[in-house]
Point group: C2
Chain length 270, copies 2
Amino acid sequence: MRIAVVAPSCPLKPEAAEAVEAIVAERGDCELAIHPQCFLVDGHFAGPDAARLAALREVMADPSVDAVWFARGGYGSNRIAEAALADLPAAARGKFYMGYSDAGFLLAGLHKAGMAVAWGPMPQDALRDGGDTAIHRALNWLVLRDASALEPHLQRPAMAFNLTVLSNLLGTPLEPDFTGVDLVVEEVSEHFYRIDRTMFHVTASANVRRAARLRLGRVADVLSNDVEFGADEQAIVADWCARSGIAFGGRADIGHDAQNRVVPFKREEA
Amino acid sequence: MRIAVVAPSCPLKPEAAEAVEAIVAERGDCELAIHPQCFLVDGHFAGPDAARLAALREVMADPSVDAVWFARGGYGSNRIAEAALADLPAAARGKFYMGYSDAGFLLAGLHKAGMAVAWGPMPQDALRDGGDTAIHRALNWLVLRDASALEPHLQRPAMAFNLTVLSNLLGTPLEPDFTGVDLVVEEVSEHFYRIDRTMFHVTASANVRRAARLRLGRVADVLSNDVEFGADEQAIVADWCARSGIAFGGRADIGHDAQNRVVPFKREEA
């Protein structure tokens, strides 16, 4: 299996790339092609929009590439997602796409366009505490379809998104159909009042209300309010689910951490 | 003119209430009724949802109240807005509603329901540097319909929103019709990458794309990126307008500050 790494959002750290290359060399069960675009820097981004788009389109169109692995999140994949999905080359359809966080904009659009995508760890996660296990988990899924990499309570079809990313893709051409979906969300570095506001927005969507249930992954690094908000993340999410008639399915095993599990969007990617 | 003050979001500071009462006493051209609910505290909010809703409904239904002035922003009016608009009492329709920031959720819903609303300074602004002028500007508009209080380049119909509030009300029952509207946005305490992401979301809306033009008020207290984003607020907003085919109308004189001008939503409130 040949896995191409591109960075549609922010630049990949060279030490993360080295760590992932070492893991792949040790495993010997796949080939990794880290695109030089991953190390470009243009302000916030891993190169200008045109460079990020060109690298993504290149690996999508390359028939020798079996999987496209998004290098990391941050911000910026939304700026090129619609263009990445235009006039899809035939080779784009035969491969697998994986990432999370900001890459959710692409996962949504690629899934909507019929491609096989999954929420899962990314190369930059190699730098987290316990990052090696995250990289192995991602590769165990990509290469071996190892079911132990999966979020353990998925009811297919399922999708996973960062909550803020989900909120920002509603109403855009990237918005997928949530009908009957086990919808899993997680969050990082937000205030509780923002999580509450984002849940208001997300659960007002008629499309989101057609989900089979909504589950909550980890909510990490909550920013402190000047006063205590008065409810925690689970109470907030359960409350908006109750208000909007969405079944709240409890907690899920995803998040911005090394324990983050894999959530394939297509029913048949079991 | 009798002006009722309620707090659908966060609590009003007593010293702001005193400052506004002193200004009103000095002016002698209106009567101020600050609802005790303004000083309730329940975690983040000026009392529980039920108390904030009850106070708002009470002043909306009171025929002796000519204007409802939202005490301050913060967060929380979205949690009660839909309920506030249900089964509207007849007396709710004859009055004027003013506020900004988080109160935009209510302005949107009230306007959509046919009521006269305006973006404009709020009682809590009395505590800003130059806050007295902001309070006088608001009262000059509410009491005297003084045109010098208005944002100076409005092309009616117009609306004004905090950008993040606008993003979070899209797709909800509060979303008004933006067709032909001079749409003015401003922002405070966000990172540039978030402003960029929010503009992506807002300008993807078919409804927003029907606006006559989009103008940018002040963007205050921008939070620093770990790296320079690479574009400022005006470049970001102009770029998303260009991408989405919305006319960018340049800068506007609103913001989270004492210079904040009034933007009435109804064409006839000139």
